[in-house]
């Protein structure tokens, strides 16, 4: 549905910043609340300084049905009436804005730090903390349940495997989890601040390591923005290679996740097979560019490497072999009652919860919510070639596993088709300097879900704001909800079924 007081944009379409309506805060609030109630989703929501203690807050909403994005803005100083009481989707964005710029969302029901860093503004802190006091991660008031036989379990930041750090706090009654609160920020490296004033020679490398397992996803989102700002045309060949790389990234991660899920319930055959096949998919990305994670493959203007006919034949041939391997490995899961018994009805997220929180990607599609940027907001090769949206409607671990399996099959078919139809062509064009005073939203369906980059350029065409929303930012709260009324021993399984990024969240 159309959003009032907002400009309508397509994915990767840049507009003059001046065209974005600036409305008073009450209208801004009402427009967003009304839009979300009628089915739109908040894909980005951030603040930028506008001089003399004033900030512009931007919101970007997505209408999945029409494929349109809506942008609007308002001006605030040190506080504004919070949207969260009337619109849950805004909850983490508002906490983020409060932490970054010291702008208080008044009446926010859960106003706690997100990444545990000091405010970007020297004398403006949302919690009025002493500037000399060191801010320590996870030092805050956790939600507590009290009563006889209630106990608390704290896990992390350092976990028992080879995993990124984060802190999980469970309130339990016996084995039963009443509430899980997730506290992150350990991976905070200050990426968004470092991007201001770019693009420069470092920018692409920040994009590659925002979430290293999503190098192709994030570099594609960034490249689309630069190409939109500079009016560059990317060849079909380059778009095709980007598509192949994005689907290979999905294949590697989905396969790895299915193996890890099997491992977490002690079903070792699939765990062992998929662990290896994941590496085989990574090696196909390395066949394209030399690096298993696709470093240097996607860059503004196209791709850094072409693929020879010989190598594309090798790729197709190997992929056919891995298709067979992954089929055999994964089918074992669906044919083993002890596996299904652990997957089914574990960690259920209700469709209503999914919509209220604005979950994205695999987690949303596993609740029967049909959203996929490749379909709803196609850009690049997906404007020409469609991949069916894979959904399942039980919202449990099984659904999140099964959606991955459906996507694996469709990604393989897509890549084989691209290899067959891709025509030789130029792989890279030089991008001119970005235009001045522009605003652009770029959405890419990474393997976890919707990646959103929003950039604003200043009068020189440099970034005055660069907002990154990894799918994990939306979905961590989904994991917390999935744990409600579950056994705490199911946490590893539920966690793996989401497999969210810590660094993508912490930036």
């Amino acid at each position: 549905m159309q959003v009032s007081n907002a400009i309508s944009l397509y994915n990767c379409q840049s507009a003059d910043v001046k065209q974005i309506p600036v409305v008073v805060i009450n209208k801004f609030r009402d427009s967003i609340i009304e839009a979300v109630e009628s089915g739109n989703r908040i894909v980005s929501f951030f603040a930028a300084p506008a001089g003399a203690g004033v900030f512009v807050i931007y919101a970007v909403l997505a209408d999945d049905n029409s494929g349109k994005l809506y942008a609007l803005s308002s001006r605030v100083s040190d506080s504004y009436p919070s949207l969260t009481p009337d619109c849950t989707q805004a909850h983490l964005f508002e906490r983020e804005i409060a932490e970054q710029w010291g702008i208080k969302p008044v009446n926010h029901p859960w106003l706690k730090p997100v990444r545990f860093h000091s405010s970007y503004m020297k004398n403006q802190d949302a919690w009025n903390r002493n500037t000399k006091e060191q801010i320590l991660p996870s030092v805050m008031d956790f939600y507590k349940v009290e009563g006889e036989e209630i106990h608390e379990v704290a896990v992390g930041p350092v976990h028992a495997g080879i995993i990124e750090p984060g802190h999980f706090r469970f309130q339990c009654h016996g084995e039963n989890v009443l509430n899980l609160e997730i506290s992150l920020g350990y991976q905070h490296r200050g990426v968004e601040q470092a991007l201001i004033g770019g693009p420069n020679k470092k920018t692409l490398y920040y994009m590659q390591t925002l979430a290293g397992d999503t190098t192709i996803g994030h570099t594609t989102a960034y490249s689309h923005l630069i190409e939109s700002f500079s009016g560059s045309k990317v060849s079909l060949r380059a778009q095709s290679l980007r598509g192949i790389a994005l689907e290979l990234e999905r294949l590697a991660n989905h396969t790895g996740d299915l193996g890890a899920l099997a491992g977490d319930i002690g079903y070792l055959p699939t765990s062992s097979f998929c662990g290896r096949i994941r590496g085989d998919f990574l090696n196909l990305t390395a066949l394209m560019c030399g690096n298993r994670f696709g470093r240097g493959l996607v860059c503004p203007g196209g791709v850094g490497f072409d693929i020879s006919d010989k190598n594309s034949e090798t790729l197709a041939e190997k992929l056919m072999g891995y298709k067979k391997d992954v089929e055999v490995a994964v089918e074992l899961l669906w044919n083993t009652p002890s596996v299904l018994a652990r997957f089914e009805e574990t960690g259920i997220v209700q469709p209503q919860t999914c919509k209220e929180l604005g979950l994205v990607g695999v987690a949303a599609r596993a609740c029967g919510v049909e959203i996929d940027c490749r379909y709803n907001f196609p850009a690049g090769i997906y404007s020409f070639m469609q991949i069916p949206v894979s959904v399942w409607n039980t919202g449990d671990v099984f659904a999140r596993a099964y959606v991955r399996w459906l996507e694996i099959q469709r990604s393989i078919a897509f890549i084989l088709d691209q290899i067959k139809t891709s025509q030789p062509g130029q792989i890279k064009t030089d991008c001119k300097t970005a235009a001045a005073g522009k605003f652009c939203v770029s959405l890419v369906e990474g393997w976890r879900g919707e990646i959103c980059h929003v950039a604003v350029t200043d009068s020189d065409g440099s970034f005055s704001s660069y907002k990154i929303t990894d799918p994990s930012f939306h979905n961590w709260t989904g994991l917390a909800m999935a744990l409600r009324d579950q056994q705490i021993s199911d946490f590893p399984l539920c966690n793996k079924s989401f497999n969210l990024s810590y660094c993508g969240h912490d930036l």
Binding site: E164, Y205, G212, D213, R276, A286, G290
Partner: protein, 252 residues
């Protein structure tokens, strides 16, 4: 029961022959760079200007590349007009000392094995605790992959364990954000002496692309002493494996 067995047959034996045979690396793999100073022109600074992490230095036409910073993006080689820098397929990159990662046009130094006492302690069984401290999950993934049947890290006596109390050392990835400093210090303290520390990836060695950010500590050795540096962004699993088993004296 028959299905898993048939699946097992179909999946075959997949463990690589390494170290008996050379590992198979991708055709476009970028390994150790080499510098040919004779081709370098005196006042050209193109490589220095394009390097995203300032890994390249030039003093009186002698070029050095700091592998502890290098992202192996090969921009320097691609932009060099005279071909003075090129990337080889040499995957053996690890070093015991930070200074040994500063590469000029001299020979390739491989990892020195642990001293006799440490080798007798860890040589046959090394248990490691992994700490991701700002790692982007690429170094983590390519460390994790060593546990798969392809590399089968266990056959070299190396294993990742779930507690620092069970470990002989820690393997650090990431630039060590300020928010992870305390956790890294505490994990290190919890490992019983004697212990070793391994830094994997450009971030853990120097801060990588995040070097100089106030939010990070520019690598593990700013916080705890490091015994082995494994460069790359991320290092290829073979680079990590080579560093580990060379440290234990399992290959010459």
């Amino acid at each position: 029961m028959i299905k898993p067995l048939l699946a097992r047959l179909q999946q075959k034996h997949r463990t690589i022959k390494y170290p008996k045979a050379e590992p198979v690396l991708p055709e476009k793999f970028c390994g150790r760079p080499v510098v040919d100073a004779s081709k370098c022109t005196a006042d050209c600074k193109l490589c220095i200007n394009v390097c995203p992490v300032n890994a390249i230095q030039k003093k009186n036409s002698a070029i050095t590349i700091d592998l502890g910073k290098c992202l192996f993006c090969s921009q320097c080689a691609q932009n060099c007009p005279s071909g003075a820098i090129s990337f080889t397929r040499e995957y053996r990159l690890a070093a015991r000392k930070r200074d040994d990662l500063i590469l000029s046009d001299k020979e390739n130094k491989l990892v020195r094995v642990l001293d006799e006492k440490a080798k007798s302690l860890f040589g046959r069984s090394l248990k490691l605790r992994q700490v991701s401290a700002g790692g982007c999950n690429a170094c983590e993934a390519d460390t994790n992959v060593l546990g798969t049947v392809v590399f089968d890290l266990g056959r070299f006596g190396i294993q990742f364990v779930a507690s620092p109390r069970h470990a002989d050392g820690i393997l650090v990835t990431g630039p060590v954000p300020e928010n992870m400093r305390l956790a890294l210090e505490k994990t290190y303290e919890a490992v019983p002496d004697p212990k070793i520390v391994i830094a994997v990836g450009a971030c853990a060695i120097s801060g990588g692309i995040y070097e100089g950010h106030t939010q990070v500590n520019n690598g593990a050795d700013r916080i705890i002493p490091v015994d082995l540096y494994i460069p790359g962004c991320p290092p290829h699993p073979m680079t990590i494996l080579d560093g580990l088993i060379r440290l234990l004296g399992k290959i010459e």
